[in-house]
Symmetry: C2
Subunit: 416 residues, 2 copies
């Protein structure tokens, strides 16, 4: 027996007609000797509606996790449950044996961190036996059940992660994520008309792409797929079965024969640059600063340290999500005396542009190409950070599109 997991997001199951198309797509993947499990999201709009109801009913509680989140999960999890029943019915209407499996029926056990739970374990015994018998299993994404039998949700977008977790537990050959785009692109096609769909991309590259704002797959789902070595295919849910729809395969590096130096160019406009000027240049200061930011739950990205003009002083520049910038400032001003801060400056009109590729590891000159391409367009670089497979630069936000296009050309990614 082989096993395949398929996942359909909210817009793919947005109404009964679309659910019928999903049933046709599932039907086309069904063949002797292959068990199918399908993970579904709530119909688009439903989760928002349920979230609003829960927040209205909870009133002031809605911002106090412990008193709110468990019942929030009870309310919000019904969205996916509805879709499981509807898809099971749509499959049966096409003559395909199918049934829904709620998380407590499998069970798919999560921790008790309501509204942002993580899957701990999936008992695949009954589920696996059912799909091996030829009955399609339809499961709700984005949720679980605690050891104490309470309903949890994994947080918004958690359906991708559910699907990968189910695929791992079932030992599936692959997890197919059907979505509203037809694959992963070398860059955002809305900015670069010559962007190309990638046939394959490594987990590591996809992780960098996902966390950099190419919102095709949820970061956690890619991490899990990488850890569990589950091949994930991203493809369009708006294509009827039979029509060419290869998508992009997210897989281990070893599966990729021709490793590109740069596979893609990502960008994020949701950045702020925080400059701490003239702070004490003594051991432990950086630890105090970033410790305080971590306590405030602020996700710091690039960090650049430099010597200040004043003797015995240094400057530290970092970036964080734009919406967190005011909180970051408050947190740091509160530190005031301890770090002897002279001044703090926040710039919110910046963007981060990155080039990503596993081939970078064994190549020199990748950074030079990047800096030359940007310089050629007169774009100033405000900060740089690098990892093994990525180079990111911070630039003035108004040059974002220009920079992405220039880099896409410079690395030879433009479609013919």
């Amino acid at each position: 027996m082989s096993r395949l997991v398929m996942k359909f997001g909210g817009t793919s199951v947005g109404d009964v007609d679309r659910i019928r198309r999903v049933a046709r797509i599932v039907a086309a993947e069904r063949k002797p000797g292959r068990g199918l499990a399908v993970v579904v999201s709530a119909m688009s709009g439903e989760t928002d509606k349920l979230v609003k109801l829960a927040r209205d009913a909870g009133g002031a509680l809605a911002d106090q996790g412990a008193q709110f989140d468990d019942e929030y999960d009870v309310v919000v999890s019904t969205g996916e449950q509805v879709t499981t029943g509807l898809l099971a019915l749509a499959l049966r209407a096409q003559g395909i044996p199918a049934r829904s499996w709620q998380n407590w029926q499998v069970p798919i056990v999560s921790d008790a961190a309501h509204a942002k739970a993580r899957v701990d374990s999936i008992d695949e015994a009954k589920l696996g036996a059912a799909i091996d018998s030829g009955e399609v299993a339809v499961l709700p994404g984005f949720q679980g059940v605690t050891a104490g039998q309470r309903i949890t949700t994994l947080g918004r977008g958690g359906s991708d992660t559910s699907a990968v977790a189910v695929a791992a537990a079932l030992g599936a050959e692959r997890c197919d994520i059907y979505t509203d785009v037809d694959g992963v692109y070398t860059t955002d096609p809305r900015i670069v008309a010559k962007a190309r769909r990638l046939e394959k991309i490594s987990y590591e590259e996809m992780l960098e792409m996902a966390s950099l704002g190419a919102k095709v797959l949820q970061t956690r789902s890619v991490e899990l797929a990488m850890a569990q070595r589950v091949p994930v295919r991203v493809l369009s849910s708006f294509v009827e079965p039979g029509v060419d729809n290869p998508g992009t395969l997210v897989c281990g590096e070893e599966e990729i024969v021709e490793k590109q130096i740069v596979s893609g160019v990502a960008y994020s406009r949701d950045e702020a640059k925080v400059s701490l000027l003239g702070i004490a240049d003594s051991p432990g200061v950086a630890a105090q600063i970033f410790g305080r930011l971590a306590d405030a739950n602020i996700n710091v990205d690039m960090i650049v340290q430099s010597v200040a003009r004043t003797e015995g002083r240094q400057n530290i520049v970092f970036t964080c999500p734009d919406r967190d910038a005011p909180r970051a400032k408050d947190a740091l001003l509160a530190l005031g005396e301890a770090i002897q801060l002279e001044d703090i400056a926040i710039r919110r009109d910046v963007a981060k542009v990155s080039v990503i590729g596993i081939g970078m590891r064994s190549q020199v000159g990748v950074a030079r190409t990047m800096f030359s391409a940007l310089a050629g367009k007169g774009i100033n670089i405000e900060a740089i950070s690098t990892s093994e497979i990525k180079i990111s630069v911070l630039i003035d936000a108004q040059y974002t599109e220009l920079a992405v296009r220039a880099l896409h050309s410079a690395y030879g990614l433009d479609a013919a």
Copy 2:
């Protein structure tokens, strides 16, 4: 410890404001030494919406129980689940410890007759301990879980039955059914302005009232309350706590000191009269007729048999729900030869009017009062049927209101 079960229907929880009022009503019933369980319906309109989705997805399957009903239950049961979470949140927002309990968490085990299941057993151990600790339990009405862990629903209106079953399992002092009327009336107040709210009514009388079209309580819930000796109070959910809202207590006869000869006057316009004329007057004919009707799932009510003018022939007249009349005719015509039917006549503009009272058992002259009152208004009686605590007559539908008002006066039920 005492325990109380409260139940709120769909209009009572129709939006978040109403759910907040329900929370205030529950709060007012909370006192030391009393555990509270609250059974809720889906927000009004939600069940209809979910039923439509399931029928759309199922297509032609929607009329084939076995292939449809289990997943229909998965879809439709989410309506109540949402309300349980919202009410638990609304209670907590008022500072009251509360949590939702889904049926599989209790568990409330039903048979596997999906879409029309019956509750088999309720494990009250965890639930009872929780409410005795002062935490309000909020449960979804209208559903259960099978021994095989599938979700079931009890059929439309089953929430009253759920509430009574929970009250029985918890050994509750009472089950309070909050609804959109403020109690059980001597007759329909829309027809008789002088109708009075009854303080108490016996299970037996309520059963006759319920099955005769006074749709305050579902018949099955009253049967269960009678069998389990659970006192049930019907009262308004639109009254703020603190305002007088005594409702009507449905209880054992032994609790009712002053037994009324007639407690109420009920009517049903949803009747058809079927006359079978000149059929064979031989043993077994009636069995054939009513056996055939039972096979066709037609609920026959009054039956009157009389000798026909032709020698060796008889006439049989019966009533059935108006919508079933055409099917009844088809079923009987199919019998044709076997019963030697001369003619079949259907009259659809008839109504049944009934007087109900446990005091009737020990009183004579009750029927005479009824017939005189109707004769006094010139209303002809087409058929009569009686039970220990009820007399029903079939009349021309246009006289329904006139008859109900005349009987309400004749038995001294008019409010001062």
